[in-house]
């Protein structure tokens, strides 16, 4: 048996990722929040949720903490946990970060060809979601596209941060009615960006992306402000 095989196994073991109960609970709750089952502003009582999930308060609190640091839950001392409610400023900041990081990811590209697999898959998924009018899924696909952009930087930490940013953005999308309006127009624009990258035109892609993000921010911030007010 070669050392090579053993190394692969030990890699797999890490991927196997044994998880604690708290992490699994956090995973369940994260899903509920991201899928929109738990609406922003909703309070998550320890007793109630702990009973429903069959875990103790301590374990549940540990799960809450994980989600708090992902900014999906907000903690108010002696009052409890709430599904985070983004302000318009939060939304603006999320786009500020997106513009900073996503554009930077394109700018630092070296010579083509680029690893466009994730972005390509996201566009494909978006097309079929649109065809079947699954607008929420279209939104997810668009997010994966932009996750793919950041992946081009090849930085695990940047990927992580982007994952968090996009998760937060869902808190906004889920309170908006009419999801189609906010997702459909951007599918062809994603494809434009992808095409530019395929042609090796990274600066062009970056320009497209910058305009894209500004448009999206404006539209979303307007809609969100109206929804809140």
């Amino acid at each position: 048996m070669t050392d090579n095989v053993l190394e692969e196994l030990s890699d797999d073991r890490r991927l196997l990722g044994r998880t604690s109960t708290a992490e699994r609970v956090a995973g369940i709750l994260r899903g509920r929040i991201i899928e929109g089952g738990f609406r922003p502003g909703m309070r998550l009582a320890e007793e109630e949720i702990g009973r429903a999930l069959g875990v103790s308060r301590n374990t549940l609190r540990e799960a809450f903490r994980l989600l708090t640091h992902e900014r999906l839950l907000a903690h108010e001392l002696n009052r409890g946990m709430f599904v985070r409610k983004l302000t318009v400023e939060d939304l603006e900041d999320l786009y500020r970060v997106r513009r900073l990081v996503e554009c930077a990811a394109l700018r630092q590209l070296a010579a083509p060809p680029y690893a466009l697999h994730t972005m390509d898959a996201a566009v494909t998924a978006g097309l079929s979601a649109r065809a079947e009018e699954r607008w929420r899924d279209l939104g997810t696909a668009n997010m994966h596209f932009h996750q793919g952009i950041v992946e081009l930087a090849g930085s695990p930490r940047a990927d992580d941060m982007m994952r968090g940013v996009l998760a937060e953005l869902r808190l906004v999308f889920h309170v908006m009615e009419n999801p189609r309006r906010f997702h459909e127009p951007y599918l062809p624009r994603n494809r434009e960006i992808l095409d530019a990258l395929r042609d090796g035109d990274a600066p062009g892609a970056e320009r497209l992306l910058a305009v894209y993000l500004d448009d999206s921010r404006r539209q979303l911030a307007d809609g969100y402000a109206r929804q809140l007010g």
Copy 2:
């Protein structure tokens, strides 16, 4: 009573910042790690530390979670908490993120003048630290300088991320002997960048910064690899 006054009060309330025991414990531990008292790789036993600090295991675990999320501690299931030990790849990734974010922060600048207060204060602090040969403090000042660069983007989330990145970097600095080597050469370069920004030459500052980060990464990665191997 005007609404204005009420708003200010509610702002103050946030600053009042009541903190839980766990947060205070996390603060103490963070200090120990950042100041170098707890060396990377060191194991933090729940029982032992909890007894020393006079808090229960549960509360301590809550503090551990906070620090885990800042990537200062690493958690291994059923084995415990360890002060994080960065690999050379981690170090490279940290610089990848820095280059991405810091350069992007300079690039997105609008017209001068810029809010250079933080950077200016950092250079001043660095000068006096150098004069008194407090090399560790000089390192801290340099970090504040780069924190200041990111602040130019005006994004709380970017600030947050940068804070985390720099905290992680300390894990590297603290295992390096000869801190002077890694800090002193960069003080004048920070001043150069600051001067360029004062002159309103953001693109020039960005170029300087990019070279700075590449140099620093190379030097630090080399030294770190030697230290580990």
